[in-house]
């Protein structure tokens, strides 16, 4: 078995065959993991006649499918919708979850514990149970088929609040006291002093919220009625059915839905991985 290489205290041992085998198996596993993505991308670059030729590198790659699909405008619209929805919800979560997390971590007042437990208890309620009341609410207030209708259930989350509270608890009170003595008001203290100290947590929260909303399917499927307001996953699902199972078109649509997050990941890999680790450890 391979020696623990990541332990700096131990002297590096020689390359052992066991470690080579482990590395190779890990690598093969990793390649298998991305195979579906490779198939999706490569098929999106093939024309209809080559679809069932299962080579990963297309014989005659073409962007024709992309032009066709993006050309009819709907996918661009869905891309825009998904972006608007995911960004707005993310901004709202970063603001409110950290404000509430901060208040619960750093203020002493009666009712604090009740508020905390109450918010935390919503974690136990699956959104599926709230979907019907939300649907009723949305139809009564005319929110069906609107951005607000897609977004309103997720504007704040208990998960984010809890995560931020954990991090704010690590901020020393002295910092805040010093600011108070300087005469800053509480909002400014939070905004200018406390928030910058927890940026890793904020980015973790932002990444999770964005990803969750970008890929969300169940609620947008229910609340949107017209194709103009679909988010990408919902749009793709209806598009795929409508395409009479033309796989190259469906794979192109799936690629369009998937590529943005993959590309963002390539640039921000370090932050995203760290963010996921943070959220997982503290959350």
């Amino acid at each position: 078995m391979a020696a623990a290489q990541s332990l700096p205290a131990l002297p590096m041992s020689k390359v052992k065959p066991g470690r080579v085998v482990a590395w190779t198996l890990l690598f093969i596993g990793g390649v298998i993991m991305v195979t579906p993505l490779l198939f999706m991308l490569s098929t999106s670059l093939k024309d209809a006649s080559q679809v069932y030729d299962l080579r990963i590198v297309p014989a005659a790659p073409t962007l024709e499918n992309y032009w066709q699909i993006l050309g009819d405008g709907r996918f661009l619209r869905w891309l825009a919708n998904s972006t608007i929805v995911a960004l707005s919800v993310t901004v709202s979560n970063v603001f409110f979850d950290s404000l509430v997390g901060y208040t619960l971590a750093k203020f002493r007042f009666r009712g604090r514990y009740i508020v905390f437990v109450a918010i935390l208890s919503t974690l136990m309620i699956p959104t599926e149970m709230l979907v019907l009341p939300w649907y009723l609410m949305a139809s009564q207030f005319g929110w069906l088929d609107s951005y607000w209708g897609i977004m309103f259930p997720g504007m704040m989350t208990a998960f984010g609040t809890f995560l931020m509270k954990q991090f704010f608890e690590g901020v020393p009170d002295d910092f805040l006291e010093a600011a108070r003595i300087d005469g800053l008001n509480e909002f400014t203290i939070w905004w200018k002093i406390a928030l910058p100290l927890v940026t890793p947590a904020l980015s973790a929260l932002a990444i999770f919220t964005f990803l969750g909303n970008w890929t969300a399917f169940f609620w947008p499927l229910i609340v949107t009625t017209s194709a103009e307001l679909y988010t990408l996953p919902v749009g793709l699902s209806s598009f795929a059915v409508e395409q009479s199972i033309q796989w190259e078109k469906i794979m192109t649509g799936a690629s369009i839905a998937t590529l943005p997050t993959l590309i963002i990941f390539l640039f921000l890999q370090r932050y995203i991985v760290r963010g996921v680790m943070l959220a997982g450890l503290k959350g």
Binding site: S139, G142, L144, W148, S226, A227, V241, S244, I245, Q246
Partner: protein, 418 residues
């Protein structure tokens, strides 16, 4: 709460827009998304607005899968369309939900409707009232791939006329690889498509039975005829091995992809099949049984006026409905969508009857039946499950048929109670 402000301003601008357009009556028309239908309706709306400058029609479309739900939800919420397209099988649901209103006899006299339209329009009649009118009707036919026919030594100009010839042609055209796996289907098998209609209204009747009695409220297929019809269908995969459920995912996809010699589908598929470039295909009437008896299944989407349309909107909606059920509109619909006119005179022209594609469908209309679905999706699911129980569950056709009859009767009974 910047969002609330945003919403408020959006709502404001919407009211402003509505106010400026107040001179013309604006009515909303809803149908499901299907490229050619949307295109045809756009043309009709243009022509209608040119003739009626005081009326504006706004078309909104939804995917078929959610269509019924969305319509129901919006009308409940007091929004939604003034004129709505609905599958004739949903009529009971829409009436019991108070979503659509009966057509006023002053604008649409029953006697005229019965004189001019094909008799299947009666599925829109409740008591003395009609609740909607179709622009076009659809029927089934057998599509066949001429290239595959030729390659298999069959005459592309002489497609199968009887069920025996149909099976023989399928056997000649089906291909399997060394492992016995189907690589080219003789006939597509897809209960999620039109096959459940073929089984219900055609195969059962050709075996001497009938699918339902009492206005389609009692299941009647759990008998010898139903069993023969089911066995015939199952045997296409099980013993004849000329088709396979799930081959190429969907039956129409297999035919489109040039890997199925024959498929049973409706007029609405013409638009999609017309874009096929790789091979030539033909259409023929559904095969007759040994005694020469034929049947067909016809269906249609009707246009109805919702309960939301009142006053001047009601008058505008009636005008619009009359226009989209006119012979002129039917001609546009036939040209753009490829669906058959719902008025006899517009449909049965010598020109249409001689058309190699429309001809077989029109002939089918003469002996077609219409199922009065109570819950089309659920009833279709019964048929899907019935076949699956035999093909992948290993049940006998007899047991599966009996279970299907029980399940469907339960759906009909539940619907009757509503």
């Amino acid at each position: 709460m910047r969002l609330k402000h945003l919403l408020a301003s959006v709502a404001m601008s919407a009211t402003v827009l509505a106010a400026t357009g107040a001179k013309a009556v604006e009515i909303e028309y809803w149908q499901y998304v299907f490229e050619t239908r949307v295109k045809a309706m756009d043309q009709l709306i243009q022509k209608f607005q040119a003739a009626n400058p005081d009326i504006k029609v706004k078309q909104t479309t939804f995917p078929y899968a959610d269509y019924q739900t969305k319509v129901a939800a919006s009308i409940m919420a007091g929004q939604g369309p003034d004129v709505v397209q609905l599958f004739y099988g949903w009529t009971d649901n829409f009436i019991s939900g108070k979503m659509i209103q009966p057509l006023r006899a002053s604008a649409f006299p029953a006697a005229d409707i019965e004189r001019d339209f094909f008799p299947i329009v009666s599925a829109m009649k409740r008591g003395n009232d009609y609740y909607g009118l179709p622009t076009a009707v659809r029927s089934l036919a057998l599509f066949y791939n001429k290239k595959i026919f030729k390659d298999a030594g069959l005459d592309p100009a002489n497609p199968p006329k009887t069920l025996d010839e149909f099976v023989a042609a399928a056997e000649k055209t089906a291909k399997r690889d060394g492992g016995g796996n189907l690589t080219q289907a003789g006939v597509t098998m897809d209960m999620t498509g039109q096959d459940h209609q073929w089984w219900r209204e055609v195969l059962i009747r050709q075996n001497g039975g009938q699918p339902y009695t009492d206005n389609d409220s009692k299941v009647a297929y759990n008998d010898e005829a139903g069993l023969k019809a089911l066995t015939f269908y199952i045997d296409l995969q099980k013993t004849k091995k000329v088709g396979q459920v799930g081959f190429m995912d969907e039956g129409q996809a297999a035919f489109r992809g040039g890997l199925a010699a024959m498929t049973i589908d409706g007029t609405f598929r013409l638009g999609s099949f017309n874009t096929i470039k790789a091979f030539e295909w033909g259409v023929t009437e559904l095969p007759a049984n040994a005694k020469g008896e034929r049947s067909n299944y016809a269906s249609y989407f009707a246009n109805a006026i919702t309960t939301k349309a009142q006053g001047e909107k009601l008058a505008a909606a009636e005008k619009f409905l009359a226009y989209i059920s006119s012979p002129e509109a039917m001609k546009v619909w036939l040209e753009v969508v490829g669906e058959l006119p719902a008025r006899r005179a517009a449909a049965l022209t010598p020109e249409n009857l001689a058309n190699p594609i429309y001809g077989p469908f029109l002939k089918g209309l003469e002996y077609a039946h219409t199922t009065e679905f109570k819950d089309e999706m659920a009833q279709r699911q019964v048929a899907i499950d019935m076949v699956n129980r035999v093909l992948i569950g290993g049940e006998t056709p007899k047991d599966s048929l009996a279970k299907a009859a029980t399940a469907e009767q339960a759906i009909l009974d539940r619907a009757a109670k509503r």
